[in-house]
Symmetry: C2
Subunit: 355 residues, 2 copies
């Protein structure tokens, strides 16, 4: 179904890999991706523990990269020269040209030269791009959006993020902000958002806000199984609890998801009217709600977007799930090869490198 | 200031021109644009009179084109071979490849082969693109957005339209819808829009809706000069009346414009977060309000969009005004020359052509 080859070992020495690194506020994910495409292999996940500092995180990632390289080398009978480089995805904002994370509240980094530190530590050239862009690009390269020209990604998690692929490349805009759908105003008189504004999409449809909206109405819905799922402790209700209740047939949870779909649908309709993509990939925990969310979501989009734009656009759940960021980061490194060496930093020219 | 050469005649026979045609629901505008750029010359405007049918409109435009060609030929001492072709802008949706207007309620056309009819009638190759795209492209090529890579255009008139230029080319998306900002939801519980949905940007900030919102609150603002400007007949208040009152210092009209700016600002902030352009050009009658609108608009955008996107984005009034569509349509034809002959229909290969 997915068309992604499984990571079966092959002894061919001509195989080449790129190591993808996905740096998140909670977890680090690293894996190797065949340069010609395929699933991430030897995927490893470890906690980020950002409070231990940037250098610690770089060291931990470097060790994960070495283990991934060792495992894939052994499985495929290839040497270190089969690993072309590192693609790194990180929360931003960041400066892709210098490979620097300008600022990221979740990790506490400021002007942190992530790409070059990691490149030097591992002894491989590296690229850096935004985590949401990488996840979107992963779905375009090897996931739900393979083969299309224009794709938009929307990730529903603690926040709401997004990215755009136009003509098969990440579209960054003038200052790497392009694709930011989370703080799109969909009700200028609406619900307060943690960003300080009112009525952002995220203020309604992020995981925590889906949970908060479910809790708000629970007293009026005594038949709901939601309280039972959390042993009566309502503050333990998360978006995942709501998805689970809906899948089990809970009418109130289904209603919360229908409302979520209507609001998310207005946001995605705005995206479709502006960017007119062939595919919108919806990623994150919200996909666990499956058709309980997607069916009303597609109906809401159809109600609000231009028909000629809706008719050519498929709204699909993500396929790569937890490895989209790893695959996409590797894909960004790969596309830097096509652009010539200038886009990736090559530490082997650097005396301080550790090959 | 504008950097646009004025249309001073020059006898150089090496000069080449493209005729731009802007077809609107009310007026037809035609002018000649030097192929290397410059202001539209010999600009002519006539009523569209769409009720007389598509063939009538094509005939009227063809006669306007001939007069423009005659006038420019005489002024510049060039022959007909100096006119390379026609760029046509029309309301849509349309099929650019076949040069057909699929449907346009304002003109009553359905599957109307506008490009080829006009190309044959005039005996010049022609291109067809959406009117809002052409106006945006005109501002990019010769107007407020010269020299930038990524630009968004928003036109406030009877409706609210828009277009995108990415990497110096009109971005059409998968089905020519891209850039449609008018029916962006900015309040999913909001004001009814003529499209049938609720809370579209157009439902608040189109000319007729600015006027309607002003009339709604007028009883509570007895000091306003608005009724005086229309001889007490409130149903004669238009957006232009509101702009005029604001410019004359009317506090209530200024309040209506501030509210308009806040809402339009939310829409433009959404556009900036998604597309991250270097310039947003605001066009249409609304620019007559000048800084009464632009100052609160910029503040509203800054409040709602990502700082790193706002910092690189200038929000500017259109420079070309009524000729943006003509200049942009000519620019679209010009870029078809760079793409090779396949993009423009060449009637001179056609036995039925009238050279």
């Amino acid at each position: 179904m997915s068309g992604i080859p499984s990571g079966t070992p092959s002894g061919s020495p001509s195989e080449r890999f790129i190591v993808g690194v996905d740096i998140g506020g909670t977890n680090l994910v690293v894996g190797a991706v065949p340069v010609d495409g395929g699933a991430a292999q030897a995927v490893r996940t470890r906690p980020t523990e950002p409070h231990r500092g940037g250098r610690f995180v770089v060291g931990r990632v470097a060790r994960m990269v070495e283990k991934v390289i060792d495992e894939v080398s052994e499985a495929h009978g290839v040497g270190r020269e089969a690993f072309l480089g590192l693609g790194i995805g990180s929360p931003g904002p960041l400066d892709r040209d210098t490979g620097t994370v300008i600022e990221t509240p979740n990790l506490g980094w400021q002007n942190f030269p992530l790409r070059d530190l990691l490149s030097t530590e591992v002894g491989l050239p590296a690229t850096l791009d935004n985590d949401a862009n990488c996840a979107t690009y992963g779905e375009w390269w090897q996931g739900a959006g393979r083969g299309v020209s224009t794709l938009a990604g929307v990730t529903i998690g603690t926040g709401v993020g997004g990215g755009l692929v136009i003509d098969g490349r990440i579209f960054h805009g003038a200052s790497d902000v392009a694709g930011e759908i989370g703080h799109m105003t969909i009700n200028f008189e609406g619900r307060r958002c943690r960003c300080g504004n009112y009525g952002c999409l995220e203020a309604y449809v992020s995981g925590p806000n889906i949970a908060a909206r479910a809790v708000e109405g629970i007293d009026l819905n005594p038949d709901s199984i939601l309280p039972d799922l959390v042993g009566g402790e309502l503050d333990r209700i998360t978006a995942a609890t709501v998805y689970e209740a809906a899948v089990r047939g809970d009418a109130y949870a289904d209603e919360v998801l229908s409302e979520t779909a209507k609001i998310l649908g207005a946001g995605i309709a705005n995206l479709i009217n502006l960017v007119n993509p062939e595919v919108v990939v919806v990623a994150g925990g919200v996909t666990k709600a499956g058709e309980h969310l997607l069916r009303p979501l597609r109906a809401a989009v159809r109600k609000r977007a231009f028909r000629s734009a809706v008719d050519v656009c498929r709204i699909l759940p993500a396929e790569l799930d937890a490895t989209a960021g790893v695959v996409g980061a590797a894909g960004v490194f790969r596309s830097s090869l096509a652009d010539g060496p200038a886009r990736a930093r090559r530490p082997l020219d650097d005396a301080s490198s550790v090959p």
